[in-house]
Structure formats: C-alpha cells, structure tokens
Amino acid sequence: MKRQGVSRRLIGLLIAGVALIALYQIGVLAPIVGGLTYVTKPFQGAVSAVGGSTGNWLGVVGSVGQLGDENQQLKAEVAALRQKVSQDTELKAQNDELRRQLGVGSIQPDRLIAAEVIGYQPDNFRQFITIGRGSRDGVKPGMAVVQQGALVGIIQDVGPTTSKVFLIIDPNFRVAALDQDAPGRPSGTIRGQIGNGLILDKVAQTDTIKPGDTIVTSGIGGNIEKGLIIGRIQTVDKQDNGVFQTAQVTSNIQFGRLEIVYVVVRPQ
C-alpha cells in the first residue's frame, strides 16, 4: 500500500517534470521563470560579486610573476592608443565638417548600458552569461554587448530585470566580420569553438590576411553594428586545395572573468 503511494508520487513528479519542459517550450512558463530570476537576482548578484573578487584575487596571485612585462606592454599600448585617439579626433572633425557641407545629419554616438554579470552558464561547453539588466532598462534581443570596446556577445533572452547573453566564444555563435587592416578589407565569418578561441572562416583564398590584423564586425546580416572589435589574428591557415582560408583569432577579453559589461543601444 505504502509502495503504491510512493510510486504514485514518483510518477506525479515525472509528469510534473515533463509538463514543465513542455510549458517552457511553448512559452507559458516565461512569467514564472521571470519571477524566479527576479527573486534570485539579488542573491545571484551578491554571490557573483564575492566570486568576482575571489577570482580576481586568485588571478593576481597566479600572474604576479608576469606583472612587470604586462605593465610595460600596457604602457606601450596606451602610448599607441593616445596617438590613434589624436588622429581619430582630427578625422572626426573633418568628417563632421564634410557631413555639414553635404547636408547630412551628424552621427549620434551609441548609448551604453552598464550591466553586472550575475551568472554564468552552468556547464563547460556552452557559453552564456546572465546580466542584471532587462527589458525595464531598455535591453532588447539582438543588441550587442561589449567590454573594453570589444564584442562580448549578443542579447538572446530578455526578462524584466535580467537578460541572457550569447557569448562569441560559444561553439554555435556566428557573426559576419571583416579584416580592418588587410587590403580590400576581406570579410568572413567568426565562429566560436570549445576552448575559448575564435575562428575566422569563409575568407576567400585570394584575400591577404596576416597575423596581427584587427578583426571587427562587418554589420552584415544581423543587428550587430559595424566596427565592433572582435580580436586579432593569431595564425592563418591557408591550404592550396581549399576553397577558403581560416584564421585563429584571439580576443583580449577574459571571458571567465567578466564582471561588468555594456549593452550597446543604437540611437533611433
């Protein structure tokens, strides 16, 4: 008799589990999931903040020997960037003047919404993060998410107070990209791969791409705007009998240590 009761409870639980999956797939569960994330968001934020501090501390301890070299490298990079900013300011002034003379409206800068990373994908192959900003803050699916001016991913699901970001290093992520430094700015597709690397694929054999080139989004075939930095080419794989060449691309972003990211809102 008792055993029958337990069996009934187990069958009931199994039916409830299957029903939950089915209801989620048809979207009925969205308000419940939204409510759950709303309730758990403060706890996730707090635990995430502690985890971020611990991760940073462990990172510093682990890399203390390389800090000197890294410091020199960063100083050189800052000097180069200052020079580039100066040139860009001049170019912007010229561009504004030409646009004014042609009667074309001036370009509005993108608005950035800062968002705290409150959760990561709970396993080791797919790559998503949860951020503490949602539709109430103006976040919409398809918006680009950046950090240090480089593309982190795109908004996939949006709840009232949280959103899920599909990271560019996910094996299923694809975005159209171009080589900013190569002659003719050849285009291709960036895809993620397991192990946090990026591959630039579908680049024509006739195009010349080389290590060190900067890869940016091309703005083709999606909501992601043109010109967001993805990374730099590390190595090029060009085979004589291949239709396309591929390149290994590395991003400067440490995807395992994201704490604050920025959602890009394009001006209407």
Partner: protein, 165 residues
C-alpha cells in the same frame, strides 16, 4: 522539514555553481555542484526526495542556462532513478567509494549528453575539460564525505531490496 533542507541545499548548490564558480573556475572549469547534490541525495535519502531534488535542481540550472532547456532536468531525473534502482538491488549507498564512483559516472555521462546535444565531437580540449571537471567533482564529493563522517551524521536510510520510500 527535511524536504525544506534538501531544497535549500539544491538552491545553494545552483547559486554557487552559476554565480561563484562561474567566476572562480578552479583549473578553468565549473564543477557541477547540483549533479553532486542530486547523486548524494539519491544515495542517502528516499526515492521521492531524490527525484524531487533532481527535477528541482535541473529546473534551476535549466532556467539559469541559455540553451538546451530540459537537458539537466531530464538527465538528473534519470540519474536519481538509476541510483534508486541500484539501491533497491542492494547497492551499498553509505560507502564513500559508491558515492565517488556514482559522481564520476554521472559527470562523464552528463558531459557526453551535453556534447551530443551540442553536436560536438571529441577533441583533446574536450577530454581535458571533462577530465578536469571530473577531478573537481570528485574532490568536492570526497570533502563532503569527510565532513559527513566527522560530524557524525547518521548513516543513509537503507532501502529494502525491491522497496521504495
């Protein structure tokens, strides 16, 4: 009361897994705390508690995840039922070896299922990640067994062969 305690453990494990371990990543991977909790609850408590923990923990991870909703609920449910079936067949649920082997098998199978859903093949990086996660999960499980032995928690509730609770 015990049910609430189990729920709190699963909730805490899910929070730690997606938020704290997401940042800290020992050896570059995120240990699967919820999977460990589900395996140990299935070994130590009743069949109903095991399935409820599996479905609840799976649901929490599925909602936190950006992909494959239902994978974790389904997999954890199968793991819980398999362990309960093993206990009915006389598995020594209180032994640390049983716990470690169960967590190891569940970790490998879970990653295999995730890779099949993703459509990815085996590679050195994949094997390295699964191996590292396996080691992390085993260390955490061993620590839980040591703590449990030292605080003198009473032994698991045995299931009679063929019996359910």
């Amino acid at each position: 009361m015990r049910f609430l305690g189990g729920g709190a453990v699963i909730l805490a494990a899910a929070l730690m897994q997606v938020s704290w371990f997401g940042h800290v990543r020992p050896f570059g991977v995120i240990p699967n705390l919820v999977l460990i909790a589900v395996v140990l609850i299935a070994l130590w408590y009743s069949a109903t508690a095991a399935l409820a923990a599996a479905l609840g923990g799976g649901f929490l991870l599925d909602t936190a995840s950006g992909s494959d909703f239902g994978l974790r609920m389904g997999f954890f449910g199968v793991v819980a039922l398999a362990i309960v079936a093993g206990r009915q067949l006389g598995l020594n649920a209180g032994s640390a070896i049983t716990g470690l082997v169960s967590v190891a098998v569940a970790t490998v199978l879970y990653n295999l299922a995730a890779l099949i859903v993703l459509g990815a093949g085996p590679s050195l990086i994949v094997l390295g990640r699964v191996g590292t996660e396996l080691i992390c999960n085993l260390i955490i499980t061993a620590v839980i067994f040591i703590i449990r032995a030292n605080i003198g928690t009473k032994a698991h509730t045995p299931l009679e062969p063929g019996g359910l609770r």
